[in-house]
Amino acid sequence: MLLEARDLHVAYGDIRAVSGVSFRVDRGELVSIIGANGAGKTSILGALMGIVPLARGTIVYDGDDITGLPAFRRARAGIRLVPERARVFPRLSVTENLMTGVYRQRKKVPLAERIAWLYELFPILAQRRDQPAATLSGGEQQQLAIARALISDPQLLLVDEVSMGLMPKLVDRVFELLEDLNRNHGLTILLVEQNALASLEISQRAYVLETGTCVAEGDTRDLRRDPRIRQVYLGSGTD
Amino acid sequence: MSAYVITIATLIVIYAIVVCGLNVIVGYAGQISLGHAAFFGIGAYTAALLATKGHFSFWGALPLVILISGLVGLLLGLPSLRVRDDFLAITTIGINFIVEAVFLYVPFFGGALGIGGIPRVMLAGIKLKGAAFLLLCLFFLAVVLAVCWWFTRSWAGLACFALREEEQAAASMGISPVRFKLTAFVLGTGMAGLGGALYAHYMRFISATDFSFPVSITLLAMLVIGGMGNLWAPLLGAVILGVLPELFRPIVDYRMLFYTGLLLLMIRFQPGGLLGEGSFLRRRLRLKPGRAAA
């Protein structure tokens, strides 16, 4: 087991975003957390990364309790985040954005090789390497955010709503890439998505969230036929 | 009462009047102003010029002084509608420096020499000085406090509180941000103008440095220490910052340090002021939680 979260609670002042969610991610797995917007998915990833304060709960990563660890220590321990809406550094160039991903870790990875590999994966980034990230389109920024997270060769990749605001064609490409990274490069991925069908397609297990609590979990093959998913998204089914 | 005590008391009352104006702008309407001394100065210079060059009596000039101060406040308040937060703070600092520079360098305003020979206030054929002038100032302070009190109970005041708390929500309740911010600005600068007129006729000599940026900081410190938005804060703050330096006269060298250090400690540990929500004074006195104006 690479990551285990027990009884997570996140609150913004009085607003309960997440109340009592538990899950685990095994090494080499691709796990999805799905749910309509407002279900608390982004808060969970923020809490795992350490950039959103946790009201209650425990996070165990790689055998260590990291609940009280600041975000930068978690990052240095091998957790990387692709944030919602990419959040690239707008006034840094593409290359500089990538280099922030290996801050204080340049010597741990074969940097030139990684960069070459990433530019091969995302040729558009190679073309724009000296442009400020703000000048990139939404889809390009999303690719940059993924590359920035991958450059340090992370152990666990957290991906937040990567499909949001992307053209359908790009969504397919990104999901294919994530699937490939997981199957062929052994990368462990925790995917948070509104796009339920596409993420269920590529992941092995999933958790279904509704207004801050987990309402279903299990193998994606079973979940895909589960009426509760339709219910969570469309409010129909039982009634 | 000795002349010394009367002098201190008169200045405290004048400052309290000016800080009441600042309270309307900052405390009630939430518009940060770090240049309030400029409007204090505009009032004082207008009164001084009307008295010395225009040969107006204090009473004849007073409505004009308040009107002109308010109008200049309206004019200079316009930038505050375009900028927010820290930009507004810098803009008001800038206004203070510019106004001071105009007083100091334009010959019409007496330049570095300032304006002297301002006559005393006459009332019923009697020259007001000493305790009589203090009474006059107290009268005006009472009037200003009454206006403030009335403002906090008026719909206009309520609109300003709403704007201070949440501009977007206030607008969704029909409150025009432009109209009510400017209303607060005009009212506040008008009070500063009144204080300026009293100051000019009391000192009988004014110069630009009386209204320089450090004076603005003193005025703000009075308000912050008293507790922004509280009706009585200007009085409390003016008394504390007016009396303390006098008590510390024996160690005159440390006066200013004490003063600035107090401001630093207040803002660092009690940003709400002595009469602010949850302050130690409130807890001590077991005051009830404040109402809208408090």
Binding site: G13, D14, I15, R16, A36, N37, G38, E161, S163, M164, G165, P168, K169, V171, D172, F175, E176, Q194, N195, A196, L197, A198, S199, E201, T211, I229, R230, V232, Y233, L234, G235, S236 | R153, S154, W155, A156, L158, A159, F161, A162, E165, E166, Q168, A169, A170, A171, S172, M173, G174, I175, S176, P177, R179, F180, G229, E277, P289, G290, R291, A292
Partner: protein
């Protein structure tokens, strides 16, 4: 059918090159609850803000009660009698609950210089504000500072303020988000009661279950466009809506 209370035609809003709202038509009739739905980034909130005057439309018209309101500032839209709530609650934190409602009661005063100098502490005003608090179930908290209320009560307070402003039309911006299940049920009952009192309601919501249960009709947006309109059950079975919400299975799998 009679003329709509709120009528939106060809509404568009572009930011930079991006069309956030693209040629949307919508009509809201007196006495109904209309839901405006859509996944994240669909343009619901922009649409809402266009109605409230926060943004100025790039194209299109908005009519309330037959009169154009597009291009008006937020306080002018409010003055026409449209009340709204905020997705992220915006109470006047330092004021009491009662004073919060009184601010909204002042809607008839703020427009005229001569009317804004009277006192808001009169008995009549207080009683009218208390009646509104009674209606949303906050009467016993009237003296409490608004900033100290829990979220569920703040949502009610916002509805009370919106009712004071708009006695005929109220726009609710995700009033159910962040609430617990039992609070959601209570708030649903409140919205139903308000409608029974004759107030027309436009609801933006992403909680599907709530919307399906409350609304008479639903309009669904996706990528700024209107992709569906109909009764809740029609919407639930609309393939375009299902795709917008659940996503696609991906090209290669579908093929």
């Amino acid at each position: 059918m009679s003329a709509p209370l709120l009528e939106i035609t060809g509404l568009s809003k572009t930011f930079g090159g991006l069309k956030a709202v693209d040629n949307v038509d919508m009509a809201l009739y007196s006495g109904e609850i209309l839901g405006l739905l859509g996944p994240n980034g669909a343009g619901k909130t922009v649409c809402f803000n266009l109605i409230c005057g926060v943004y100025r439309p790039s194209a299109g018209r908005i009519r309330f009660d037959g009169r154009r309101i597009d291009g008006l500032a937020p306080h002018e839209v409010a003055a026409r009698g449209i009340g709204r709530t905020f997705q992220i609650v915006k109470p006047f934190a330092a004021l009491s609950v009662l004073e919060n409602v009184l601010v909204a009661r002042g809607i008839r005063r703020y427009g005229r210089f001569s009317r804004m100098w009277g006192s808001w502490r009169g008995r009549g005003e207080k009683e009218a504000a208390m009646a509104l608090l009674e209606r949303v179930g906050l009467a016993e908290l009237a003296g409490r500072k608004a900033g100290l209320l829990p979220l569920g009560n703040l949502r009610r307070l916002e509805i009370a303020r919106a009712l004071a402003v708009g006695s005929r039309l109220v726009l609710l911006d995700e009033s159910f988000s962040g609430l617990r299940h039992e609070e959601i049920a209570r708030l649903e009952a409140l919205v139903r009661r308000i409608r029974e009192d004759g107030v027309t309601i436009l609801l933006i919501e992403h909680n599907m279950r709530v919307t399906m249960g409350l609304c008479d009709r639903i309009v669904v947006l996706d990528h700024g466009r209107r992709i569906a309109e109909g009764t809740p059950s029609e919407i639930q079975h609309d393939p375009a809506v299902i795709e917008a919400y659940l996503g696609t299975k991906g090209k290669r799998h579908a093929a």
